[in-house]
Symmetry: C2
Subunit: 183 residues, 2 copies
DNA sequence: ATATACCTACCAATTAGTAGGTAAGCAAAC
DNA sequence: GTTTGCTTACCTACTAATTGGTAGGTATAT
């Protein structure tokens, strides 16, 4: 992994660990054993880094969407839910949840990229649910978009809430989401 | 309102607006037209302020629980949901959601108080659902605690997610929660 | 010869927090 | 009834650390 990629990777972890306003370029430089100025060489401003992290997530989302395009709705849904399982196993929260609370403190370009990212997730999950209902794998009353909103908000908050109530509550919520869709 | 109360009120708004790590004692002193040192007179450290804000929320939660104790489950549920409606009207997120993402950056006493607060909400909503099911006002398959987790996570994330997708999505999620419980 | 990827050495602003002073109010002791 | 002591709620003035960011230099590879 190049230094640039390592900075993105580390920045991403820090954002989802502590929030955008609780990490500094020094945190990154310390960990990578390079100087603060070297981090600025790769990313002139903190916003540039934030944008690159968002770009990276967007790219990986596209890869996942394309990689599962021919699979069944259930496999696609599991691919979506696995994103959160992995985040939970690292003790972190998701990028959307972390940055949504920081929204009023980030620059407009970052806010825009975040909104695009969140909407792409919503569209993807909506299409999975739509397809699943057509194929009679999933059952739900609401519009596919509304159901997608419910599921995404359950998973997003499951990461945050289970930090406070019980770590197991993440899996309780996740399993309930799956069970509910199948009935 | 005393200065002390004004500081708590303002600190609370700032946390739910921008996050715990994105506001300073100077922000508060500026707004209240007193000096930074005067804020420190009331709250020696930022953690002291954070704790007082959590105490304030806990106290208000207790008042709401007691104030609705003799009411019907539907009235209680509406009281719970109204908390979020009010927060949404202010364009903010909830305290639990905001601080959950900052959890790894706050001191242990604050983290403890936050966990206590989150669990008290969970217990309250659980008891509302339990009572509602017994009285056949609500219908759901899961355990009352699990259903409470689902509803709380929907509402918590509705505030965050609707900042990114569409402001109206908050109400879409909220209405879906209500409709789902009644069916 | 130029771009890459680092470095040293800064800087200005912001941050949380402290030291020590003041002015007003209030209550008991002389 | 006024002096004394204590508390409250501010103030001025400061500090040490951290922060995001810059200027300009160096070594290496192409």
């Amino acid at each position: 992994m190049s230094t640039r990629e390592e900075i993105i990777h580390l920045g991403d972890q820090l954002i989802r660990d502590k929030g955008f306003n609780a990490f500094s370029f020094y945190d990154i430089s310390k960990k990578l054993k390079i100087k603060n100025a070297s981090v600025h060489y790769h990313f002139p401003t903190k916003s540039d880094l934030g944008l690159s992290i968002l770009d990276d997530h967007t790219k990986k989302l596209h890869e996942l969407i394309e990689g599962t395009a021919t699979k069944s709705p259930m496999v696609k849904l599991n691919a979506f839910l696995s994103i959160y399982t992995k985040i939970k196993s690292e003790g972190r929260v998701c990028l959307v949840g972390s940055l949504a609370t920081d929204l009023n403190t980030v620059d407009p370009k970052m806010a825009k990229a975040l909104k695009v990212f969140a909407n792409e997730i919503l569209e993807w999950v909506t299409s999975i649910l739509q397809e699943g209902r057509t194929k009679k794998v999933f059952a739900f009353q609401e519009s596919a978009r509304t159901k997608a909103l419910m599921i995404i908000s359950n998973m997003l908050a499951a990461l945050q809430l289970s930090r406070l109530t019980d770590e197991k509550d993440f899996y309780v919520i996740q399993q309930t989401v799956i069970k509910d869709l199948k009935s």
